[in-house]
């Protein structure tokens, strides 16, 4: 049994800057029933006063209502514990209401999920604490909220200013969100966090996901295959997009041949190309440039124009150069042709390969084996243009009906043949030769003849 112990003033709090409450901790009671009294003095107020309300705020507390509360003045509080044996007084506690403001938590925190197309959002709404007076402008409340996902311990905090609502846009479906709100009055301390509120956002979006995934996978596969196809066919694609410009080509030169051929063949091809300028190539194209060989004069006059094209041209490739280079080009020869009498009507024109007179190089003849300088038999043909002439004198007794005598030259392309008279002429047979391009069959005779090697018999 003793006097009571010294009580301790714990602190005071004003929830709205209009009233305040103070609490104390009693000391030991000394085994006797002890009463506590709170006395205060106030700045600018004479006298000591006792607590006006011990009950409203609970045990060991003192509640100062509006009438007893003054802001911006200091209160000096003391608590006295007294029992039968003595008193005990706490240390003075200075308090200014301005400094002890701490509001209550916001009320009625509600969460609402808005399910929009792309992403849901969360709307939070609350009410200010009941006892604050914002209407008169006495206090201005500012709010703050914090959000937590599922069971994690990380809170995300957001300032809401003076609004009593807030929207969260980055919310994921299927997650439980926990929201708390607190507030402050002007520069006061923050209130406690409100009661937690939960909401779970539904998973309605999950159904759409597989479908979207499927579509995206299909499109990716399509892209990849298209890419592969393009890569495989890149050459043709390239040709289609950028068509190649045709390069220059030399006729008679097969570039592919040149690539694979050996050096001999290549040099042959090139040499051949050098010594024989491609004038004969020109002749190939000029299909009209035939030599029309016919017996009939009348046929000539009627059909000369038509028949221009009927004669097969590629009988013989002769070089006009050789023709021009002939030194012993005998004028007499041509004169002889003119003396040939006219043939009677024989309307069979030549459709086969026909031969033309050509002037050979006299220089090439060796010896005097060839009786007549104008004609020589060809021994063989090398390549396309080289003729190897026969030096021996060959005589054939028979007179095949293949041979004709040139009667006259009509223009540049028409040779009129004389109808043959077997007895007069000494023919040589060149049917022994195999017909090949160019068909050349000449004989050494003393008159100008055009030999032919017909495939079918003429008559």
């Amino acid at each position: 049994m003793s006097a009571p112990g010294k009580p301790v003033l714990l602190g005071c709090r004003s929830p709205e800057k209009e009233t305040f409450t103070c609490w104390w901790e009693p000391g030991s009671d000394g085994g006797l029933p002890t009463t506590h009294h709170l006395y205060y003095e106030r700045e600018r107020l004479e006298g000591t006063y006792e607590c006006p309300d011990y009950l409203s705020a609970g045990r060991n507390s003192c509640f100062f209502n509006k009438n007893h509360t003054s802001i911006w003045v200091n209160y000096y509080l003391t608590v006295m514990a007294s029992n039968a044996l003595g008193n005990a007084t706490s240390d003075p506690f200075k308090v200014d209401v301005m400094e002890i403001v701490k509001p209550d938590s916001p009320r009625n925190v509600t969460l609402r999920v808005e399910e929009r197309k792309d992403s849901p959002c969360l709307h939070v709404r609350w009410r200010p604490p009941s006892n604050t007076d914002t209407k008169s402008g006495w206090v201005t409340i500012k709010y703050e909220l914090r959000v937590k996902k599922d069971n994690s311990n990380n809170w995300e905090e957001y300032m809401s200013g003076t609004q009593t609502h807030f929207s969260l846009y980055s919310v994921s479906p299927g997650v439980v969100y926990t929201v708390q709100v607190r507030c402050t009055l002007d520069h006061s301390s923050w209130s406690e966090w409100s009661n937690t509120t939960y909401v779970k956002i539904s998973n309605y979006l999950q159904n759409e996901r597989p479908f979207l995934m499927l579509i995206s996978i299909l499109s990716v596969i399509l892209f990849i295959t298209a890419g592969f196809v393009l890569i495989m066919k890149r050459k043709s694609v390239k040709h289609w997009v950028v068509p190649p410009v045709p390069g220059p080509k030399i006729r008679g030169i097969n570039s592919q041949f040149l690539k694979v051929a050996g050096s001999e063949d290549v040099s042959n091809a090139l040499i051949f190309n050098q010594s024989f300028p491609p004038i004969h190539f020109v002749w190939e194209d000029q299909m009209e440039e035939y030599l029309n060989v016919t017996e009939n004069e009348d046929w000539l006059s009627f059909n000369s124009q038509k028949r221009k094209k009927s004669l097969i041209p590629a009988c013989f490739h002769f070089d006009s150069e050789i023709h021009c280079k002939e030194s012993t080009c005998n004028q007499n020869e041509w004169e002889k042709d003119e003396e040939i009498s006219k043939v009677d009507n024989n309307n069979k024109p030549f459709t086969n390969t026909g031969y033309v007179d050509f002037q050979r190089h006299v220089e090439n003849v060796q010896g005097a084996n060839v009786k007549h300088v104008d004609y020589s038999r060809i021994k063989e043909v090398k390549g396309n243009n080289v003729l190897i002439l026969e030096t021996e004198n060959i005589q054939i007794s028979n007179i095949p009906e293949d041979y004709h005598r040139v009667k006259e030259m009509e223009g540049d392309h028409l040779v009129v043949l004389q109808k043959q008279n077997a007895a007069d002429i000494n023919y040589t047979d060149c049917a022994l030769h195999k017909p090949r391009k160019p068909h050349v069959c000449t004989e050494s005779s003393n008159s100008g003849y055009v030999d032919t090697i017909p495939a079918p018999p003429l008559m």
Binding site: K17, E18, E41, E43, R44, K66, T69, S70, I71, W72, V73, N74, Y76, D91, P92, F93, K94, D96, M98, D133, T134, K135, S136, G137, W138, T140, T162, D186, H187
Partner: protein, 231 residues
């Protein structure tokens, strides 16, 4: 040498010409006076003016609170050590409402006058405080800057509140009894003993309280006069 001298003088001439013309232009721009919704001139409403001065006062109170807590750290005066008798704020002679009801009951003109009195009363002490802060090497530049800022802002706030009062008088909200107030010397002579006794910490303590008063009174006034805007 001659060439450089000439070029330098030319540059100076050009610069001075530019400055002259620009100053002329700005002075010309500053000349037109806004009168009641002239085109191109934004006239502030009373609500806007109130919002601005309230924001200003909130900021002032914030700075004063920061400085006060800094001082507390430095000197560690126990809360109860400040004697009840010795300490007195020089503005305690000004009668101010000490609660919401009292502030609401006070007439608007009277309340405005109280605000202005408070602001005027703190002009010189804050300037002295700033000077003493500048010479004190105990405190960092941060505190010194805050003191200067506080000084300037109180000056601006007083001008703002005077404008508000003027506008209210024009609109007939308050009577013309709110006259241009007397200088603070009327409250306290500049070389008074109280000032010298007043230590910085006490000054900050008192100013923190008074800035909170000003903020609250302005808010009450605003919601009484223009209640629709955020009350």
């Amino acid at each position: 040498m001659n060439g450089t001298f000439r070029s330098v003088s030319l540059v100076w001439v050009v610069l001075s010409g530019c400055l002259f013309f620009s100053s002329r232009r700005t002075s010309v721009c500053a000349a037109p006076i806004c009168t009641n919704g002239k085109a191109g001139c934004h006239v502030l409403s009373l609500a806007n003016l109130f919002d601005r001065v309230i924001q200003h006062s909130a900021r002032i109170h914030g700075i004063s609170s920061d400085l006060h807590s800094e001082f507390e750290q430095y000197f560690l005066p126990s809360k109860n050590q400040i004697g009840r008798v010795g300490r007195i704020c020089h503005t305690s002679t000004i009668i101010t409402p000490n609660g919401k009801e009292n502030a609401q009951r006070m007439a608007r003109g009277e309340l405005t006058e109280v605000i202005l009195k408070l602001l005027v009363a703190w002009r010189d002490p804050l300037w002295h405080f700033h000077q003493s802060m500048a010479h004190h090497h105990d405190f960092n530049n941060f505190s010194s800057n805050k003191a200067l800022e506080m000084n300037d802002m109180v000056h601006e706030l007083r001008q703002g509140v005077e404008k508000v009062a003027e506008k209210m008088q024009v609109q007939g909200i308050i009577s013309n009894s709110v006259s241009s107030l007397a200088s603070p010397e009327d409250l306290l002579p500049s070389d008074s003993v109280e000032w010298q006794l007043m230590k910085d910490y006490v000054l900050l303590y008192c100013f923190r309280r008074d800035s909170n008063k000003v903020q609250n009174y302005l808010k009450i006034l605003k919601c009484r006069i223009v209640p629709d805007h955020g009350c």
